[in-house]
């Protein structure tokens, strides 16, 4: 059955590939820049369809105003003041102050670049499409009549959101800063956490039309070179029109696109991403979104939170166990309730069975339908609450709680125990944010299985899930590591979080070093240095 679906999808993707090859875009503008200024300007004007926010400023400069040049920039994304001050003014006026300017050849782009332009981020371009790329990325283009090269001077002015606490990953203890939409600021945030020469940033531009900056960031000495190479290959494979969010990249590079489980993790928090880079993972930053991708990902990561490491180990361990339990409740809660009440009533303690029966006395629907109704209502409420503006969203919450919680029970449509089961499920589903999506899908699957075959169905579903999880890989790392394959060193940080001074080895399945890779000295257990000196008197 799945074979058929997979075959169909594969067929479609092959078809797409074939079609893509026939209409390979993007090759048409690669002509060299002409030495004649007018020809270039005409070409640029026609390519940009005379867009109104493109400024083309022709001017004469040099000592005797004999040299002709043109400055092209898109005024919506560039800093006009900077361009006036640091490009136009030196060319037209400051040049007069140069004592030895008389002999200089101002038709040569190198001379201008070295002597007159007082901005650092500039480069020479010789091809028309390179020129256009720079122009669209926010550069001012200086064209000189008689030169075969143009100068692209970067002067971007994009209003960036200030650094705020991320909405998705709020913490009680820990840094409040979160990534922003600007990729350079995001790299800066990581650089501020890891001030090491080993920290590498590689930049790619992906998207035929969006030309989005995608940066991969890693620690050269720690990260596995094979993983980095694999990421490069997968990124270069992407031929698409636009990358609007890191989710696009995630879906193009993930290992198992048919899985409900994510194999690429994401985060909005620089400290979390920095911690993962230090473990040997690779971060993928995408311009235009605060969500940074990190690979490889393992399943256990979803249950770890940055705060686990900031808090002392005892509380962190309790919370982690609660997270595991809550994931089980959120995926299996309604399924187990339906399986028990419809198929295995003998497993329910007698008193509980009687009170469940009391609650269901007036309910006209079968339990499975009741569960579906409630889950549907819950997901509806959640979706509505997220999309609506905040003041209205609260109303939705109140109405939902009243209608679904109170009224539907009193009207005899829903049994009170089902309300408890679904609300427990709902609350539990938020405790593990990284797996909320997979949990929601699995919840419905298990519920259907429970409705068809009871506990037998649920066990079959669980078994299939387990097999699937065990076969998943994320950039070569087994998804269930360190449980499968068993790694005792890794187990220190799974169900309980051992004290920080015991966690001195890097995760082996991430770095793949043949030797043990240490991130701290293994004898860090704190104790008073000199016990005799410890007397406060």
């Amino acid at each position: 059955m799945f074979g058929y679906i997979l075959k169909k999808i594969r067929y479609l993707s092959l078809k797409n590939k074939y079609m893509l090859q026939n209409t390979q875009p993007g090759e048409n503008n690669s002509e060299p820049i002409s030495p004649v200024l007018e020809i270039n300007l005409e070409a640029i004007k026609s390519i940009l369809h005379e867009s109104s926010d493109v400024t083309i400023h022709e001017f004469n400069f040099g000592h005797e105003r004999k040299n002709r040049g043109a400055l092209i920039f898109i005024n919506s994304i560039t800093d006009k003041e900077e361009i006036h001050k640091n490009i136009l003014q030196p060319l037209m006026y400051d040049v007069l102050l140069l004592k030895n300017a008389v002999g200089m050849d101002f038709n040569d782009i190198d001379t201008i670049r070295k002597n007159l332009i007082s901005m650092t981020d500039n480069k020479k371009v010789a091809m028309l499409n390179d020129l256009l790329d720079s122009l669209l990325a926010g550069a001012a283009i200086l064209l000189i009549n008689g030169s075969k090269e143009a100068l692209a001077i970067k002067s971007v002015k994009i209003k960036s959101r200030s650094i705020e606490e991320p909405g998705t990953e709020a913490v009680v203890r820990g840094p409040r800063e979160g990534f922003v939409e600007n990729v350079n600021e995001n790299i800066a945030l990581i650089r501020r956490k890891i001030k090491d020469t080993d920290l590498c940033v590689e930049k790619y531009v992906i998207g035929e039309k969006s030309k989005t900056d995608v940066c991969i960031v890693y620690l050269k000495s720690v990260a596995n070179p094979k993983v980095i190479e694999e990421i490069r290959i997968r990124l270069k494979r992407i031929k698409t029109e636009a990358i609007l969010e890191s989710g696009y990249i995630e879906q193009f590079i993930e290992d198992c696109p048919y899985s409900v489980f994510p194999t690429v993790s994401n985060s909005e928090k620089p400290d979390k991403v920095a911690a993962k880079i230090l473990e040997g993972r690779v971060a993928i930053l995408v311009d235009g979104t605060p969500f940074v991708l990190v690979v490889p990902m393992v399943f256990i990561e979803s249950f770890q939170s940055v705060e686990d490491y900031y808090a002392r180990p005892f509380f962190a361990s309790v919370i982690r166990i609660i997270r595991f339990l809550s994931y089980i409740i959120s995926t299996l809660g309604p399924a187990i309730y339906v399986a028990l009440t419809v198929f295995h009533q003998e497993l329910i303690p007698t008193q509980l069975l009687i009170s469940i029966a009391e609650g269901r006395e007036k309910v006209p629907f079968p339990a499975i339908l009741e569960a579906f109704l409630m889950l549907f209502a819950f997901d509806l409420l959640r979706e509505a609450g997220v999309r609506l503006p905040k003041p209205v969203g609260q109303t939705v919450g109140i109405v939902g709680a009243l209608v679904l919680g109170e009224a539907s029970v009193q009207a005899g449509l829903i049994s009170p125990i089902m309300v408890i089961v679904v609300s427990a499920t709902a609350i539990a589903s938020f405790a593990v944010p990284a797996q909320t999506d997979s949990g929601t899908v699995l919840r419905y699957i298990y519920l259907v299985l429970a409705g068809i075959a009871g506990g037998f169905g649920v066990i079959m579903g669980l078994l299939a899930t387990l097999l699937h999880l065990a076969s998943l890989r994320s950039f070569g790392t087994p998804y269930l590591w360190p449980i499968v394959p068993l790694d005792t060193a890794g187990l220190k940080d799974v169900f309980i979080r051992m004290p920080l001074w015991t966690l001195s080895k890097r995760p082996k399945a991430i770095t793949w070093d043949s030797y043990d890779s240490y991130n701290q000295s293994p004898d860090l257990m704190p104790s008073p240095y000199n016990k005799d000196n410890n007397d406060p008197k």
């Binding site: 058929y4 419809v342 069975l353 029966a357 009391e358 006395e361």
Partner: protein, 392 residues
């Protein structure tokens, strides 16, 4: 592609259709459609071969009934005692659907009570269903009514909504007195199958009070070959339990050292070991009992918290225990019913000899000798270490 696709589409539809259609009869049924049975009584019908089955079914709408009005005031009961006749238990169970509409759900059956007439005539024929039915739990209690089982089913306790639950509750808590013990279907069946052991089953009696009737366990009955052969009172039952190592707690009343009052001891710990001995065709059972108790009450002004008095009390309590055991053993000799499980013990130790003994067990049993060794100890006197009396 076309043919292949058609096939896979067909198999896909078939898969979904079959998986739902075939598994639809895996046993799904809504809770609303269940008649939850919490207790069953089996009686003999007068002047016929039929039996009368009474099932206590939870009345779901009255069970909650708006938690405010506790159902004893309004008179609406939280349960419904349905009865039906049939030639066999299963026959009667299915006959009952004529009245209930839904099939009985007996997984939560707490207790099966057999009527006196039926027990006297033989339980053997009626026990099969309760062990065979897959819904029935082997942990359900088995009990015998002093008169009719159906009379017990509506004697409601003041604190418990359901009579059957109440019965199950006080049978489970036999340990406070050790005057009887709980026997469930599985234990009962394994005793029946051993051949020589005569199982004991708690006996339920009714006492009429001003407001309705109360049920209590008045002792146990011995079943031999599936038939009720005799009744044991509380002390006799405890005599059996001393030997079977089933005494949990309880009260021993002994006379105080100066014979002027009583001292009441609470059993804290009791352990027994039985070693059978077969010598020249003579069977001796060596019973060793270790008991620890505390002084819980005294009705004299004498100070009992001294070595001399305590020693005397220990001797007295050992004597009480011995008397209880002997009383029980005398009874079992009279009834020729081996509820001490001596037969099983001999079987374990004397494999070869057992074959010969087994056939003549009824004759051999009364000749068994008991050697009882009792070690009692009073380990504490609770909160007082001298009586509350004008001291001299």
């Amino acid at each position: 592609m076309g043919k292949e696709m058609k096939f896979s589409v067909m198999s896909l539809t078939l898969f979904f259709f079959l998986s739902i259609a075939l598994s639809g009869c895996l046993g799904a049924r809504e809770i609303n459609d269940l008649e939850i049975v919490i207790g069953m009584g089996v009686d003999k019908e007068k002047d016929s071969e039929d039996i009368l089955l009474t099932a206590q079914v939870v009345k779901v709408d009255a069970a909650g009934g708006g938690s405010g009005n506790s159902s004893d005031g309004g008179g609406s009961k939280a349960f419904w005692n349905v009865s039906s006749k049939g030639s066999s238990i299963f026959d009667a169970v299915r006959e009952m659907t004529h009245k209930t509409g839904n099939r009985l759900f007996i997984s939560h059956n707490q207790a099966v009570i057999f009527g006196n007439d039926l027990a006297a005539e033989g339980l053997q024929d009626y026990i099969d269903f309760f062990l065979r039915a897959h819904e029935m739990r082997p942990t359900a209690l088995i009990l015998i009514a002093e008169k009719k089982a159906s009379d017990l089913m509506d004697a409601k306790s003041e604190t418990e909504k359901y009579p059957a639950m109440n019965i199950a509750k006080f049978v489970e808590n036999y340990g406070y007195t050790s005057h009887f013990y709980k026997v469930n279907m599985k234990d009962f069946a394994s005793c029946l199958m051993s051949g020589t052991t005569a199982p004991l089953v708690p006996l339920l009696s009714i006492v009429e009070e001003k407001e309705g009737k109360d049920i209590y366990v008045s002792g146990m009955v011995a079943i031999k070959n599936g038939k009720m052969v005799g009744k044991l009172n509380h002390d006799e039952v405890r005599g059996v339990l001393w030997v079977l190592d089933k005494v949990e707690s309880g009260v021993i009343t002994v006379s105080s050292p100066n014979e002027q009052g009583k001292a009441v001891l609470e059993i804290i710990k009791a352990k027994s070991k039985v070693k059978p001995e077969l010598k020249d065709g003579k069977i001796v059972m060596n019973i060793k009992i270790k008991e620890e108790s505390s002084l819980s009450e005294q009705t004299t002004t004498e100070n009992l918290a001294n070595d001399k008095a305590l020693k005397k009390l220990q001797e007295n309590s050992a004597e009480v225990i011995r008397q209880e055991i002997m009383a029980a053993f005398d009874k079992s000799r009279d009834l020729k019913a081996d509820f001490f499980r001596f037969g099983e013990m001999l079987h374990k130790k004397y494999h070869k000899e057992w074959k010969a003994l087994k056939d003549k067990w009824d004759e051999i049993y009364p000749t068994i000798e008991l050697k009882i060794e009792i070690d009692t100890k009073i380990i504490k006197t609770d909160l007082l270490n001298k009586p509350v009396s004008p001291s001299d």
